[in-house]
Symmetry: C5
Subunit: 100 residues, 5 copies
């Protein structure tokens, strides 16, 4: 799975009926050491209610169809997790801000 | 899914009968921040009636066969959406021109 | 699908019986603007009778098995079209020479 | 399959129920000659009980679902082996330390 | 399929029972023009009895499971041919040494 930050949305009215109602997010891959964006973007289908700015990971290939949201649908990149924390070599490189 | 601009068409008379009648488009991947082409091209099967110059996204892998147009056909890149708008960090980086 | 030029052949006597009789071609990916080779090579199974020097496109992944030639066979790159012409931004970047 | 070192963990409470209980590890791809990390990270599902610091290899694509742990689950990168040794050109480039 | 040279072996005692008995080889991708290694390595499952130093090609993705050896197993890279010769633009760039 690939770590990414939700950067925005992609709007399309002209698509197959099987894609209707799916939320399409603009994702930028991130480096998990610096948490900086890599300038490499994909369009992902959201299956977890991710919001702009959040760190997520998405799954590619046929496994992108292995969620309730995307079963039988033409997705090759599906967001399956909102990330709470990334730990590398015993230290946190990322921790999600908690709502106050 | 991958954002791209329709740059032209690819013509082939010598192909399997299962590919007959499919529209084959020349796609150039685009950067969604600058909307410039990346010089990276693929041949995609059109399932949405995309036209030259339009921004689309295409789906890869086995999911490229998950449309009415490409079911059971040897496509690994199928255009499944014409993009109306791309929003990044709260601002539009792309908005499709409306017909007057 | 990926545009490539047929550059030669790959010979192997030591392979599974399911691969017997398949024509294995050496393909070099090409840039569709300049039509120059990219120095990036793959071995493809031919399903259309392609010849050395011709521009083709091949299909990857599980879709590479979606031809009569490769059904159930371990191919991840199958040539499915000999290209006649490539049109980009209204002009031809490639046109196949016709036999006189 | 791809060689990598386990560098840490990725924590997510917000994910599909099918992913509950799976251990998500932060993997850095390694060069098997120098055994140095490549700065290229993925999130992998652990199916073998790998620990931080260990060299493993993971399997991608639909084959990532071909383990007891990941059957029918949306994984595109599953750790399927802890590496004991890598031999290249007759010499070991890596040998796992044995517990004393 | 991807051309590579067998550079060595990868040893793992800690892996799923479905992987038991499979020979895991360290493969380095090669350029078919110079026949030099590209410094890009993968771990492949051997289905043809390849030996160190030999040029082979391997198949990726779900097609890596389309051999007797790897059916239903978590392989995403399976060696399916030992290469005897590579011909490019009418000349051999590689020819396997014959046993005397």
């Amino acid at each position: 799975m690939v770590l990414a930050r939700v950067r925005g949305t992609v709007v399309s009215t002209h698509k197959p009926s099987s894609m209707e109602g799916l939320k399409l997010l603009l994702l930028e891959k991130v480096d998990p050491v610096t948490m900086k964006g890599k300038g490499d973007f994909v369009v992902g289908v959201d299956s977890v209610g991710a919001n702009a700015g959040e760190i997520v990971f998405f799954v590619t290939g046929s496994s992108a169809r292995m969620t309730e949201t995307t079963k039988g649908k033409p997705s090759d990149a599906t967001i399956i997790a909102i990330v709470d924390a990334i730990e590398k070599d015993g230290a946190l490189t990322y921790e999600k801000a908690r709502p106050e």
